[in-house]
């Protein structure tokens, strides 16, 4: 330990500022420190002083060119979103652009995910009916040449998802999905035929506060008939432990 370090009291006010700006607090500590910042001018000044350095750190990474196919995928999703919003009018745009934290709490309380965990049999029946009722495939004219977009069947009420396939890459775009329950994470599965067991992937994910997520399908969808999402314990599972919440049929 250097002489400088021996004079540093990590428990004093400001002690968490450096790990905070570096993203090195745990989720709980981060939340608590954000609350603390609202009432502590000492910590606010410390964060402001160190934040400018943290903001410069990305420049220390070797500078690379983003792959061109990445832009094609991002813009295909953006144009699909723009088209959907345009089709549904300004109300949906306003809903999608709601302030953070405004709707998720309401959706969580009303969301189907909580009910699913209490009554899985009912959920399976509801979901099976939904699968039969809905399988929409759209070809995205503005999503770039060769981009196919399939609307997925989604169990949680109010949520939606679509599968975009372009240049051999596939991504699942999810909106208004409830947060995974505590201790659980969403896992992506691939099904290669109607009778085959779903195969696990490395894609474990959570959704943003507004319920959105974009998940790349590992390895693409060649030979895949369905892309599924289930809620699994942290770390993922080898076999689904709950019925699928999202089913996207590959067009």
């Amino acid at each position: 330990m250097s002489a400088d370090e021996s004079h540093f009291d990590p428990d004093s006010c400001g002690g968490n500022a450096a790990p905070y700006v570096l993203g090195a607090l745990t989720d709980d500590e981060n939340e608590a420190f954000r609350g603390h910042l609202e009432s502590c001018s000492v910590c606010r000044e410390e964060v402001a002083a160190l934040q400018v350095v943290a903001a410069a750190l990305p420049a220390a990474a070797p500078q690379l060119s983003a792959p061109p196919q990445l832009k094609r995928r991002v813009m295909a999703s953006v144009r699909e979103d723009a088209r959907r919003r345009s089709a549904h009018g300004a109300d949906e745009l306003a809903q999608d652009r709601r302030a953070p934290g405004q709707v998720p709490a309401r959706r969580w309380r009303a969301g189907a995910l909580a009910r699913l965990q209490w009554r899985p049999n009912l959920a399976v029946a509801t979901f099976a009916a939904a699968v039969i009722a809905l399988a929409v495939v759209a070809f995205a004219s503005g999503g770039g040449a060769g981009t196919r977009v399939s609307r997925a069947t989604v169990l949680p009420r109010g949520a939606s998802a679509s599968l975009s396939v372009s240049d051999g890459h596939a991504q699942l775009n999810i909106l208004d999905m409830p947060q995974a329950a505590p201790g659980r994470v969403y896992e992506l599965w691939l099904k290669r035929s109607a009778s085959a067991q779903p195969q696990p992937t490395d894609a474990l994910f959570t959704v943003a506060r507004d319920g959105a997520a974009s998940v790349g399908v590992p390895g693409g969808v060649s030979g895949v008939s369905e892309v599924l999402v289930t809620s699994e314990p942290l770390g993922g599972s080898r076999v689904p432990t709950l019925p699928a919440l999202i089913v996207a049929r590959v067009a």
Partner: protein, 206 residues
């Protein structure tokens, strides 16, 4: 929080050429209104930096691409959250990508940690120095790297493990077999020294 934008003048040129002359902050106003073309200009300006950061953190091209994609789509869907009072669009974009990469790193499973990294990708994807702006950024990046390398090893290491490795201070303390307080102290001292070396880093990288 409502977006803090000045109203854009009406009748503006929304063509790609017209948009390209607008400042990031003006473009964000159009992104907020759902203009995909404005978003595309923002993407073109910052995707290389975002991908560079994501790849440095993730070490795998596919994962880095997913992180950047998630980050930019999050930006597109939450344009209202950009607050120019808190820094430039570039800083905001890179902050989003950094957070997404940390999430990706922390939810890795044991079976993912054994993956082989894409060694040598830097050479294949190295960004060409095409414009004066890019040459300037390359010089500025060198200054930041030099400032980081000038730190005592124990300070640069905790900063790199935290910022680029996505590790928490507790994980770093365990890894280095040092008290948590010592790790926090090294982080703070290292950042403070870099600030002195760089002057005002916010001006260096914008």
């Amino acid at each position: 929080m409502m977006p803090m934008f000045k109203p854009l003048r009406s009748g503006g040129d929304s063509s790609a050429a017209g948009l390209s002359v607008l400042a990031d902050e003006e473009l964000m106003q159009l992104v907020y209104r759902g203009q995909a073309a404005a978003f595309e200009v923002i993407y073109d300006r910052h995707a290389d930096a975002a991908f560079s950061l994501a790849y440095r953190m993730c070490g795998q091209r596919a994962l880095a691409e997913d992180v950047v994609q998630e980050g930019f789509l999050s930006l597109w869907r939450s344009g209202a959250r950009y607050d120019r009072g808190r820094g430039s669009v570039r800083t905001w974009v890179l902050g989003i990508v950094h957070n997404r990469a940390i999430d990706a790193l922390r939810r890795r499973t044991v079976r993912e940690r054994g993956r082989i990294s894409d060694e040598g990708i830097e050479e294949r994807l190295a960004a060409p120095e095409r414009t004066d702006v890019e040459v300037g950024r390359r010089d500025e990046a060198r200054e930041v790297r030099d400032a980081l390398e000038q730190l005592p090893d124990e300070q640069s290491r905790v900063i790199e493990l935290a910022y680029f490795g996505g590790l928490t201070h507790v994980e770093i303390a365990t890894m280095l077999d040092a008290p948590v307080g010592t790790i926090k102290g090294r982080m703070r001292l290292g950042l403070a020294k870099m600030r002195m070396t760089l002057g005002d880093p916010a001006e260096v990288v914008q």
